[in-house]
């Protein structure tokens, strides 16, 4: 039976919390921060000690010094949906005007520009300029087999450009009829949810869905797990209706192509480990498909990290943490790199551009001899010539 999770309100759940501390020992922020107040049970103690109308600065800091990875929820003795609790607390804090200033700036940026970078929306296709050949109908083609939703990071941050480039190369090679939303793709709203500023998300959802309905794809594929989570779990709740098309993560779609025999890969001996992105694994329940895809490459040996699947250690890049406490995020990434190194793998593959970016930085800092790749990059390097 799937484990049920509950969230019946802040007061109820902080009373139900037994203070057993199971959450403390899987919490990356606690492991790095060291003080009980970083831990989930510590934050609940702060909530109970505080006046609900006026949260102390310590609690505000700790609530935003969290990657929203959800590891605490997995081990919770009382099945508290702790991730929901942190989001609820962020909303309460943001509503009171006491969230970190950078969260309000982020909201304004998304409101003004439609994306998190502050670039003009027209920049959303810059990544495609480096392709050997820009596929016909890359932007706004109607009735495609696949609509590839890139997400803000892949579209607008050059360090992540190789992810959409890889995905497009794979789909072109396989002969998939696909398109993107180009400049009309809007931020999915996930960063606003993590900020605690949720008012604009419904509008973003409506705009994204309306545009996609015009294009009428058979399915949507996303390489960003946070977009995926928002689309699959938040949009139906916000709009009170099911999505009119299936939404898949790139790992699911590429595995499907592989199983259908459309995606042909060459043999290469290498040892690979896989990092479960929090929004793909714990928060969306997708653990097997990325592993099946990786191990479908002839010659590849997959070795697991000490913490994997439901118990995976966050890379440090989630929950807008880098915006509020860069050092804490970097220290969590260092823990991740140590865990990767212990596997002896030559490559760590993940399914998230944010995880890839965070781990790449930490691997560089640690001078570790490990290649960090998104699944799309890994697969494109294995395409059969």
């Amino acid at each position: 039976m799937d484990k049920p999770f509950f969230y019946e309100g802040l007061n109820e759940e902080t009373t139900i919390c037994g203070r057993c501390g199971y959450c403390r020992d899987v919490c990356p922020a606690y492991e790095v921060g060291g003080w009980e107040s970083f831990s989930p049970r510590g934050k609940m103690a702060l909530v109970q000690a505080a006046n609900e109308q006026e949260y102390p600065q310590k609690l505000i800091d700790r609530v935003y010094q969290c990657t929203l990875c959800g590891a605490c929820r997995e081990v919770c003795h009382l099945n508290i949906d702790t991730r929901q609790m942190w989001l609820d607390l962020r909303q309460r804090i943001a509503k009171s005007g006491k969230a970190p200033e950078v969260m309000y700036s982020l909201r304004d940026t998304v409101r003004d520009k439609g994306n998190i970078s502050g670039e003009e929306q027209s920049s959303r296709l810059l990544w495609s300029e480096n392709l050997d050949e820009v596929p016909e109908g890359l932007n706004g083609k109607k009735n495609p087999e696949v609509l590839y939703f890139l997400g803000c990071v892949s579209s607008l941050f050059p360090a992540a450009y190789s992810i959409p480039q890889s995905m497009v190369k794979i789909m072109t090679k396989v002969g998939v009829n696909f398109t993107t939303m180009g400049a009309e793709e809007m931020c999915c709203g996930f960063p606003l949810m993590a900020a605690g500023l949720t008012d604009d998300i419904k509008k973003l959802a409506e705009e994204n869905i309306a545009r996609i309905e015009e294009l009428s794809p058979s399915c949507i594929v996303m390489s960003c797990p946070s977009c995926l989570h928002t689309w699959k779990h938040e949009y139906p709740r916000l709009l009170n209706r099911e999505l009119p098309f299936p939404v898949l993560h790139s790992s699911q779609y590429l595995l499907k192509l592989r199983q259908e025999g459309r995606l042909k890969l060459k043999e290469k001996e290498q040892i690979v480990t896989y990092h479960d992105p929090c929004d793909l694994g714990r928060n969306s329940g997708i653990y097997d498909e990325p592993r099946q895809l990786i191990t479908s490459v002839p010659g590849v040996k997959l070795v697991e990290m000490e913490r994997n699947r439901e118990n995976s250690l966050c890379c440090g890049g989630g929950g807008n943490l880098e915006m509020t406490d860069k050092e804490l995020a970097a220290n969590i990434s260092d823990l991740k790199v140590n865990m990767i190194k212990e596997t002896g793998a030559q490559t760590v593959v993940t399914g998230c551009q944010q995880c890839k970016r965070t781990m790449s930085g930490a691997v560089r800092k640690a001078k570790a001899r490990v290649r960090v790749q998104d699944l799309t990059e890994f697969i494109v390097s294995m395409l059969d010539d």
Binding site: M1, P4, F6, E12, T15, I16, G18, R19, C20, G21, Y22, R24, D25, G34, W35, E36, S37, G42, A45, L46, A49, P56, K58, L59, V75, H77, L78, N79
Partner: protein, 478 residues
């Protein structure tokens, strides 16, 4: 804060109230009015997070010279206020002193920092073909030092005895800051510190006996129609030459609550029998279980149910969701008294209109720990205080049958006369005076009860207050 301390620990010591308040309780929810009435000062003045023995020693020296209480804390996962201050002072969070320091495969021993968590240690050892011998049911978070300072009985105790018997060596910082190596034969000995609630020294390193990681595991549940047959079966199997690794008891009501939460759960009075070892041991165990079921009229439940319950062995508190508070009494009782105990609990439940559930661990053919719990709501004011008083009635049921409360901490001090004989208590107090003449290490615990809670008054008070439970307690859905 004294400069000496900030120089010693830099940013690993704090007097920030919002940090200190998170160290002001454990699993037990104690209403403010009760803390006030008993004059308990549960928020420490300072919290320190040392990372090595030398820092612990320097902290102890400082506190000793200044006459400040110090309170050692592992994960704070007990419920007796063992690691919660009652007279403020410096809480020393020992979580940072952890990790495997040495694995001696020849001697079958591992040395760890005392703040090492049990489950993590076991996982790390299993990667090298070894395993811990026993562990607490709070293993995901409980520390090695913390469990040693409790009584140290839990999963695997049937096979390997209490933790104190598995410890080869301790490194202890005494209250004056002296660092001492302690063995089974030294003076003071390991037995002094085991179950002492951290009142004699700060344990910083532990060397433990370990076992070869089992090749095979077998987990079975036997469902009995009555508790008397179950207790006889438990005593019988605990006497077998091929005795199980672990034996657990679950009352029928325990699983009623789980069903209420939506979990699939077995019916009947349940005996969990767990075998670990080589193929021969586990296959032999399976034969014993079949014989046991035949002799005592039990049903062997499908294997997957046994395995599923084994996986849930660290999650006995799930029922708290129905609470939202859980009140409980944990006691030692005789295995042969289990049936009488459960009959008494049922009668008490009927009188109080309160549904109790129990689970226990059989540690040998004679004795077992028994955890009996019920729902409450800590936000209820008087109703909650009444509910707390009911624990006194449950302890009394165990005492009436020759048992006594498990662990002392703060909350079981009114039961000191039941837990220890006068001679034993005098011996413990002598040790305390010898090692901690100023009474600064975890004061207010283990040796004496709060002045407002003398045993006679406590017993009378809990009896009177609990009479109201019939009217104020949580009502169960039938």
């Amino acid at each position: 804060m004294d400069n000496h301390l900030s120089e010693l620990l830099c940013n690993r010591i704090t007097d920030d109230w919002w940090e200190r308040v998170t160290y002001g309780r454990d699993l037990a929810e104690v209403p403010g009015i009760m803390r006030w009435a008993l004059r308990l000062e549960t928020i420490p003045d300072l919290v320190a997070r040392p990372q090595n023995t030398e820092e612990v020693a320097a902290l102890a020296q400082y506190a000793y010279s200044q006459g400040i209480p110090i309170i050692p804390r592992g994960s704070g996962s007990s419920a007796f206020f063992n690691s919660v201050p009652v007279k403020k002072g410096i809480t020393i969070d020992l979580s940072g002193i952890s990790g495997i320091l040495n694995l001696d495969e020849k001697q079958e021993e591992v040395t760890v920092g005392a703040g090492q968590r049990w489950e993590a240690l076991d996982k790390a050892l299993r990667q090298k073909g070894w395993a811990v011998r026993s562990y607490p049911s709070s293993a995901p978070t409980a520390t090695i030092g913390g469990w040693l300072n409790m009584e140290g009985y839990g999963i695997g105790s049937l096979a390997f005895g209490p933790l104190s018997e598995q410890v080869v060596r301790l490194e202890v910082v005494l209250p004056d800051g002296t660092i001492k190596e302690v063995t089974q034969a030294s003076e003071p000995a390991i037995s002094w510190f085991a179950g002492s609630d951290g009142t004699l020294g700060l344990v910083t390193k532990v060397t433990l006996k370990i076992r070869h990681a089992p090749d095979v595991e077998g987990h079975w549940l036997l469902s009995f129609k009555d508790v008397a047959s179950l207790s006889k079966a438990a005593a019988t199997v605990a006497e077998e030459a091929n005795r199980p690794y672990n034996l657990g008891y679950y009352s029928a009501h325990y699983f009623d609550f789980f069903r209420q939460l939506g979990y699939p759960a077995p019916h009947g009075e349940i005996l969990a029998v767990d075998y670990e070892g080589n193929q021969e041991t586990v296959q032999g165990g399976q034969k014993i279980i079949k014989q046991l079921a035949g002799t005592f009229g039990a049903e062997i439940l499908p294997t997957e149910v046994g395995v599923s319950e084994w996986k849930e062995r660290f999650y006995h508190m799930r029922i708290k969701r129905l609470g939202p508070t859980l009140m409980a009494a944990e006691d030692w009782i005789g295995v042969n008294n289990l049936s009488q105990y459960q009959d008494s609990v049922a009668r008490l439940g009927s009188r109080m209109r309160t549904k109790f559930y129990s689970y226990g661990t059989i540690v040998n053919s004679q004795k077992m720990t028994m955890f009996t719990a019920y729902r409450a709501d800590s936000r209820q004011g008087l109703g909650y205080i009444v509910a707390m008083a009911v624990t006194g009635r449950l302890h009394q049921l165990a005492i009436n049958l020759g048992g006594h409360p498990y662990s002392v901490g703060l909350w079981n001090t009114p039961y000191l006369p039941s837990i220890f004989s006068k001679v034993e208590l005098a011996k413990l107090k002598k040790r305390k005076k010898e090692l901690d003449p100023k009474g600064l290490l975890n004061p207010g615990k283990h040796y004496t009860y709060p002045s407002l809670l003398p045993p006679w008054f406590f017993s009378f008070g809990t009896r009177m207050a609990s009479l109201l439970q019939r009217y104020t307690g949580a009502r169960e859905k039938e």
